[in-house]
Symmetry: D2
Subunit: 437 residues, 4 copies
């Protein structure tokens, strides 16, 4: 039987960045296969061109080699080469019924983990072995819960179908879209996603959330002409003048009466030396908005500013979308069902009726929308997990009892929806019916 504490600590020691989760995904595939799941992964689970913010070839290759060195199964992982690190496990019941999907994310962050003795992973000896990377956002826990749920569901007499979706590259909101575009969500009737922590303590669960903003992340490259700043200043085409103009004007974009927006140029770098007119510059920009429409408008305005900041100084430019997410609307039926399931889990003492609130962004939003567009229902839950330090902090950690709670919440949901005595699901057409439309 799966030891979820051990599993989480193993993953914690081997944190892999988005689209390089070769070892993690290999472990997921192995575990699901060993439990009897039908498993889709690699190119079958991911639409290559839809991946956003893909790392460089060199980084992909290095991470692949490292994964092999640290125990990834060569037969499995070869299908993931080049950044195809999504996995879907399918459990088909004997009885007819709807398709219920659970989604888990697997990637880590480029953060140097704390070596303070007060930091439990250090004290208990399971600190990151991949120095400079860290599971500082609980995705090690998410993946672990996914595998724990996989095991628990094998004991259930499923009426319908279970899909366990393990996605790469949630950080930077990059990976979910490529699994959606591959069709992984097209037959799903009900989708449950969740995050551990998020300022909610262990023992509290929210069956739904609100507030997630639409966002786009853009990488902008300006290309000009270098020249000697003393001898030939007029022969240069100054990429930094273009970038600085863009930066100021992007920040000066108007507030919108249609709802909250955010805008940030988070990084700018260009030029090489005091005496050279800068030939190249690079900017990282993000927009956020309450609505997808406003965010599209904001992104369009950013693009226009980049275009003309470049044109003004005779630069060329490229804009790359490195990440994106949309708002989330949770379906009240699933929220209530999740709350009901959570209330029965041991150790869960607080399940408020109110949705959790966050102004962050989540690319699970694409999965949720795909399901809802096709007539299904979805929600995004918060499963409490007390943290000694905030998310993305070098001393972030999760109280490990939250893992068990997570497994039981998801399992409880499945039981209520797909078991013999499940709540009636006739309110929804079956996935088949919908697909045939």
């Amino acid at each position: 039987m799966l030891d979820i504490i051990e599993m989480r600590r193993d993953l914690h020691q081997h944190p892999e960045l988005g689209f390089t989760e070769f070892r993690t995904a290999s472990k997921v595939v192995e575990t699901l296969q060993s439990l009897g799941y039908e498993v889709i992964y690699g190119h079958d689970a991911i639409d290559g061109p839809s991946r956003r913010g893909l790392p460089s070839e060199a980084l992909l290759e290095a991470a692949y080699e490292r994964a092999l060195a640290y125990g990834a199964n060569p037969d499995i992982v070869k299908a993931m080469k080049g950044g195809y690190t999504g996995v879907v496990g399918i459990l088909r019941g004997q009885q007819p019924g709807p398709t219920l999907a659970f989604r888990f994310d697997m990637d880590a962050l480029p953060i140097m983990e704390s070596t303070d003795q007060e930091h439990m992973p250090q004290a208990d000896g399971f600190i990151s072995q991949f120095v400079g990377n860290m599971h500082a956002c609980a995705h090690d826990g998410h993946t672990t819960i996914g595998l724990g749920v996989a095991e628990a569901l094998t004991k259930l007499d499923v009426h319908g179908t279970i899909k366990l979706i393990f996605q790469p590259a949630e950080e930077g909101v990059r990976g979910a879209y490529a699994m959606v575009e591959k069709g992984m969500l097209d037959d799903v009737d009900y989708l449950y996603c969740a995050h551990l922590g998020c300022d909610v303590p262990t023992g509290q669960v929210h069956g739904g959330t609100r507030g997630y903003l639409a966002t786009t992340k853009l990488a902008v490259h300006f290309h000009g002409v270098a020249s000697h700043a003393g001898a030939d200043p007029e022969k240069g085409r100054n990429a930094l003048l273009g970038a600085a103009t863009a930066l100021l004007n992007i920040h000066a974009l108007p507030r919108f009466s249609s709802g909250d927006t955010r805008i940030n140029v988070g990084l700018l770098e260009g030029g090489t030396a005091a005496n050279i007119i800068a030939e190249h510059a690079r900017m990282i920009v993000e927009t956020r908005s309450e609505s997808e429409e406003t965010n599209a408008e904001l992104e369009q305005r950013v693009r226009r500013i980049v275009e003309h900041s470049a044109g003004m100084h005779e630069l060329t430019y490229e804009i790359e979308v490195t990440g994106a997410a949309i708002p989330i609307t949770c379906d009240v039926e699933l929220v209530e069902l999740a709350n009901a399931a959570a209330r029965e889990v041991e150790g869960v003492h607080t399940v408020p009726d109110e949705y959790a609130y966050s102004t962050g962004s989540e690319d699970a939003s694409y999965m949720i929308r795909r399901v809802q567009e096709r007539g299904g229902k979805a929600t995004y839950m918060i499963i409490g997990a007390s943290n000694p330090a905030p998310h993305h902090h070098p001393r972030f950690d999760i109280e490990e009892d939250s893992l068990r709670i997570g497994v039981e919440v998801f399992s409880g949901i499945a039981k209520r929806m797909l078991s013999d005595h499940a709540v009636p699901v006739s309110v929804l057409p079956s996935a088949k019916a919908r697909v045939e439309d």
Copy 2:
């Protein structure tokens, strides 16, 4: 006989801005006709579309009415209606010979003249009657000299042809080009232009100058969309954001290794009220450069910045050239001849070999280039005139003896070039010969 002091004081009392010199030009025509000159003026002397920085219809009309009220000859001035205020007087000799042209400018400035008792025009009662306008750049003197020369030359047995060119709108470098484009300089073999003052005291004369920069003056208009800054900020298209971006980036244009340049946005105005996103903005820009090529490149860069500052904020824009000049290269033969003539004038005590130096701009440059392009020669002289205050200052004035000196320098030049015993001019083909080529 013409009293040049009286004439200058009459003109000083009636200062007219560029393209509205209706009364002044009318007096010039009357005087030239009374002296027996063939006179070209109005539409015959000016190419309408080539005028730069033309005042509004309303201003042209008001100045026209004022000129009539203050003694302009209605029969003459009607040909100048709408801003056709150039005059050319022609004196054809009995004997063959080259065509010699002298150029004078007639316009005043929008400056409120000083009423200090120390200011001689005030003390002696000939201060500007057109309040707000002032002859603060000695063009009243220039026009007077032109008429004084006209009279003096009638006593000369001319071998060849004399052309006296009175141009409008030198301020802002706007008027000369329209007379050039009308062909007024096409048959000229030798051209002499001059300025009084320019930090050179009475009694000193320079037969040539150097340093005049090429320049372009541009009026830029940005058009956006107004909206309420509180209720609908995103519905506006902010003309001031475009203009401010243009202003900063125009000033940030690079220095040129090819020679000195200057750049200035001298005026910016836009918007109406605190709570309205600015719909319109207007900028006045000038470029200056040692060479015409560099100036053309600078102007092109300004235009590009305007285009993209507008595009960046979804504005439309127009750019109008309101003035322009090119560098001046004086022909040494004419410089030396002018110096020789000046040295014979009573009251002239200093005639240096060195050219006078100025970093200003002059639209006589277009006349000079047209003459030189067609094989002729030209120069631009400085005739000293002590000033109590700098050019364009409310207490600017000229020592009036400089008027007589000016008349005698020009007359002396004509004598040396076109009289019976003139210096040989065979070095140059006659205008006719050139035109027939």
Copy 3:
């Protein structure tokens, strides 16, 4: 008896801008005195230094003379000279009771009124005689209602005291503060303010409003050093470079997570000519925020940007607050009482429980806060008045039956609060008691 239609039309013909309401205020004083009110006005009603955005001396003087020419009472209006155009009428009851205040604003806008025959003031012959000014925001109606109420209340057996406050310069949120600072609100227990129109049709009344934003209007002046852009560019200190830098950076101020904000540089003008480095520049800026604290922070940030945009280019600067307002919180007790009064007025068919919503700004907010700070209660009502065109539009007008409704709503409120059978007001201490604390 007062003919409110005639009164409104008289005021409409004589629209006076903020702090120049000499004729209007004179009429108000005359009327109140004729009705037996004790009247405070001029320096007794206005704290001079607290006036914001005061017009120039010349404008104040010209408007004063015009008022005299158009029927202002010289004995009254002399106390208002220089912009002291506030009036308070007091009616003291025979019986003890609280102090109830109603507030009305009197100023007009610098808008050219439409002469379309479809525009009723034109068709019926009461168009603005002060060309260029217009009552395009219904303050003529507000003042008329105030006088109508004054008359109606004389028939009431008042238990307590009535204060009718007529304020200058609401446009630009400039005048209320100076009456507050003079102490005019210090003894008020209950305050009712109102606006006609605001997209609410005749026959509908809202006893309360929400949404009014805190705002500050700033006039910024930059002073540099002029120099010739060709000869001495480095000797100038360029006011336009400072202003353009400020404009971009002000617009680039961050959005606030604490609530909605707005920012706008609505006007920028500086410089004089192409060839002069700009010596002066002027900007008009406004900030708006959901909370007073955030607005104070935004204003502080604007000031910091101005300070350093100036310092960067060696400019000096001044910042003048030309207007300000704070948010409004209506007291539910007064809202409900106003709604009850409104429901009894003939012609009022709709009185929703919901507050009216506006994202505008109102300087009655200062009066409301002063009353609430001292333990009193206040509200801001909307009295419907159908308009053929939006507020501040050249064809703005009000359906005149709204005037009668307005008079009756206010009178009904007074009746309910101060008459013999008034609702108990013991919930509030009397003003006296409060002042003695």
Copy 4:
């Protein structure tokens, strides 16, 4: 006897960046000592605090260890630890006479050397062993010439004193100033500096140069406050907004009528991620001017813009001078003497009277000024050396016969000035006399 080809090739293989010339300087000390020179080096030759643009501790340490590994003399080099890599060799004559100094620079560039077979150092096997560094500006040749001269002078009967000055960190104009401030030039009567190449072919020599611009190189650091761009944008203090504002305004600094200037922000980098308000930013700036005064004014203006761009956004900042140079004025007496000496060297076929012209910058300028300030004379020569590629290019190289020519030019100068039959030097007071003043 010293093989100068071998010496140059050894230095070429071991290129060391500014202030890390440990191996190079060690070789110089060893050679000078072996020739009998009195040698000053380490802390005795360099004023620590006057060094500009010092590398990091880590880099200094790593370069020191590398030097030891590659043959630096441990006993010598320990005195240079931490970047004290200047050397002065002194040869005192038996006879009285003036002090004559020659200056040579030793540092290399951070350029990856070409491995093309056409590149002679590659073909002949003496390519850089310190990969990423390269002698691409001929300083390996300069140092070699210095040592060749050292050997040659030992055969001379010196009347007076010879000082051979080997300076670190000429690239970035950083090192000379620290030797000047240590007083190394204070007793020098005559100073000759030189550069190989500079577009002058082998066989041509210029005894003087003109055109070198004053320059300052600045590193600017902005420090703000990071915050989450979605959750708390207003809590950040955006270092990139400050830096972009500075960049635009620095480029917008005015042209100077007092002479040519240049300005460049050659590098800007700041921020870390799309969703974080940038906490830090760094800029590299340079100014250049024909005169030291104008350059000081330009630097002052850059500093002011940085100060206020920081203040505007509540940032702190530091500005570090990482390099500086001043203009060079060559003394005609030394130029002529150098030309005379050059004309006698075999292989020198062209010695024009005109000075060589360059718009670069040189920190030998500080040495030259110190000598001239104290009554001495100085010049900066160009010794031709044909190059297959421009300076600072990966395929830069020098024709090696220029080394012999260099040695003979310097030796010839010494012979003419300090030998028995030297030209009279009585025109100058001796260094001693001057110091006693």
